[in-house]
């Protein structure tokens, strides 16, 4: 019951949070001195032609009127028409959703699989050489610029070793769409060859996204485990003669993971934001590439829709994390 109340309370906060988000992004996108109507019309266009486009897209209206119009459309489920593709933005977003989610989820899984064990190991070997090496590696992971890391990985794995493709999501056009996740669709279709190909294309972008995320998870897991190690319940369980392995993996990790879980919610948001760079470098046809392109073209509606969408995902993921945290930690109920 408490979980339901918590969820409802969080959901009730969603509209004002999103409204604030829309207001900020809308204002920023409209006050920058770019003129999408001029860019769409092209350099050979006359002023009348530009003005006609401006009127068509409502860009000639006062800012507040444009904002109210936009809000009204959102309530009606209309995120507008892309100024460039001339298609509903929702259509363009949905077409790219699966690619980004497949990448982000793969990166998240990889980051957790690397980050949590390394965090535990680092804490258990506190201040010894293994801990120092892991801490150094996590600092490097956090400090490296994503685009630089991406190019390094491309040069080494694709060009020198030749084991991974340089870019793209698959050779050709991918399997028949069911979920939109190429790996899963290939498995459903029983197409092992395509599954293998999809995995090969996933490796580099996933690794690039996962490395900084894993570094964050290592640091928080390590801090959580260290905190738990010095707590009374561990002292008590040790005195009771419980095996060290049981204490670590059953009690300490559970306690430490509560803090890490909150971070995972934030990290997932960062993965979506980080996808803008990674998808551009790897030409991964997802939301990040869409956002990058929309920014270059001053496609207001597309930028707003992307921000709104990722904001909503971020809020939902954090809601789920809160619920999971409540389930894991009885003190919060």
């Amino acid at each position: 019951m408490r979980i339901l109340v918590l969820a409802l309370r969080r959901i009730a906060w969603m509209p004002p949070t999103l409204l604030g988000l829309i207001a900020i992004v809308f204002t920023i996108s409209r006050i920058i001195p770019a003129d999408p109507a001029r860019v769409i019309a092209g350099e050979n266009a006359s002023p009348a032609q530009v003005e006609a486009l401006r009127q068509k897209f409502g860009l000639d209206l006062p800012l507040m009127q444009q904002f109210m119009r936009y809000l009204r459309d959102i309530v009606n489920g209309d995120l507008g028409i892309s100024l460039y593709s001339q298609r509903p933005v929702v259509e363009d977003l949905l077409g790219r959703l699966a690619a980004t989610f497949e990448l982000a989820i793969a990166a998240m899984c990889l980051a957790i699989m690397i980050g949590v064990p390394l965090g535990v190991v680092s804490a258990l070997h506190r201040n010894r050489w293994l801990d120092q090496v892991i801490r150094l590696a996590t600092m490097a992971g956090l400090a490296m610029a994503a685009f630089w890391l991406a190019i390094l990985l491309q040069l080494f794995f694709s060009m020198t070793l030749g084991v991974t493709p340089v870019q793209g999501r698959i050779d050709g056009w991918g399997p028949d769409q069911i979920t939109g996740f190429y790996t899963i669709d290939a498995l459903i279709n029983g197409d092992g060859e395509t599954f293998g190909k999809a995995l090969r294309y996933l490796i580099l972008p996933t690794a690039t996204l996962a490395i900084p995320a894993a570094a964050t998870i290592v640091r928080f897991t390590r801090a959580g485990v260290l905190n738990a190690l010095s707590s009374n319940f561990v002292f008590y369980q040790t005195a009771m003669g419980l095996p060290r392995r049981t204490i670590i993996w059953k009690y300490i990790l559970r306690s430490a993971f509560i803090g890490t879980l909150t971070q995972i919610g934030l990290v997932f948001g960062n993965l979506l934001a980080g996808a803008v760079v990674i998808e551009t470098v790897f030409s991964w046809p997802g939301l990040g590439l869409f956002a990058y392109n929309s920014i270059l073209q001053s496609d207001y509606n597309a930028i707003m829709a992307f921000t709104l969408f990722t904001g909503s995902v971020f809020i939902v993921v954090n809601l789920l994390i809160d619920i999971a945290q409540t389930l894991l930690d009885p003190r919060t109920r």
Binding site: P33, R38, Q154, Q167
Partner: protein, 525 residues
Amino acid sequence: MTGKFPPLTINRRAALAGLSATGLVGMHSPAFAARQKFVTANNNPYDLLDPHQLFDIGRIAVRLNMYDALTRWVDNPPRLENWLIEKVTISPDGKVYTFVIKQNVKFHDGTVMTSADVVYSMERILALKKGAYGLFKDVIEPGTTKALDPRTVQFTLTKPFAVFMAVLSELWVVNSALVKKNEKNGDWGADWLSKSEAGSGGYALRRYDPAIGFQTARFEGHFAGWGKNPIDDAEFRGVLETATRVLGVMKGEFNTTDGYLPAEQMARMKENPNIKTWEAESIRTFYFIINHWKAPLNDVNMRKAVCYAFDYDGFNNKILSGTVVRNNGIIPNPMWGAPKDLQGYTYDLDKAKYHLSQVKNVRPLQIGAMAGYPQSEQAAQMLQAGCAKIGLEVKIVSEPYTTIAPKLNDRERAHDLIPLWRSAYFADPHNWTGFLFNSSNFDAGNASYYKNPRVDELCNKALIITDQDQRRVMYEEVSRILVEDAAGIFINNTKFHGAFTKNVKSIRFCPIGDAQDVRWIEMQG
């Protein structure tokens, strides 16, 4: 490439109809395992397929490969071919053009192209007011284009327009019946055609994903026929990151990419044994727009001072490593109308100082460089350095093109100087002279706000007469006047540096299209 093709998605119905009409559906069989496939990595996304909404070189592959126009540019220097036209008649006053279109030109769904399709295409451009609309708006009124019989179409211009045949290369003919069937709320089928095709071009759309690009298959029934060893499948992918495109070609994931890469990337490609490069002088001039509207640049001495303060040799040969060619005027060297003996400015600080000393009320100048275009930013820095040596302060503001573009046609907000390219949309000197420097084009194409009655007179006259030799003389005079007036800082003409995988045997380069017309490409193995 295996013989297994994924099923069609967006354009399933239209493509299936077209493919069955041409026998292309058979390619699902394993017999097609050895089809020649050519993959292009483009620096622009293919977010739109409508040929009447597109008008840029970046996405020209859509138009060139899936559509046909009445005329077409080929080779270098560009030559205008009567493409869909069998016969043309021009009235003595140069205002009525009557065309007979070729027999048995078929669209991808098997429908025969008629003059009604040409009429519909022109009306569509005029109604949508996008893409190539700017080329036709001043000379063709809606409703005046007539289909005289199924193969004869007549255009009545509001005034003589010597470049009409040249700009017809942007009148891409769509299958009117198919588009009309997909019209919604009087949108001229804009929504549908943004993700489908209704063309007759050499390649028919098979799959389209705005996030990736588009895939086409050769249209066996194309009216122009095919050579001995044509490409069977052509794929066009939008890959925004330059380094990724270069690595992709080096690894063989793509067969080619854009031909205007930065010098250091081109050097990498040239060193790679798996790549062959083609070099050709293009018709894309790089110059500084000078804003003549605001003092002190309305003074010819001030303009000459900045022209003499730019290190042309240093920029073209050192910074750009000789990947471009010095172009003394605005018309590209290979283009007719560019005087062969034209004397341009040189880097001469003494002369620059002299002209600066003749200017009253000198103020610091501002250059609007295009962020993300290294050449534009480097040229700005080079001019800044030269001006500093003559005691002229110059400030550089780097802005994305989307920010610079609106200022181009706003005389008060425009930067003093803007380094940028003038690409070729049609190969006629008007593209570089009348369009850019005729005062009737203020706030539209003349972003310099340059005005010279003699230039206006010559440009206007050259648009009325059709004799090329007479026009050549006029444009040569315009070129000389523009240099004498220091109307802009004319720096170089771009070279096309095409990088292709070794198995590409031949290409047929035309600056209008940048070798993206796949029908002319041959591969081996």
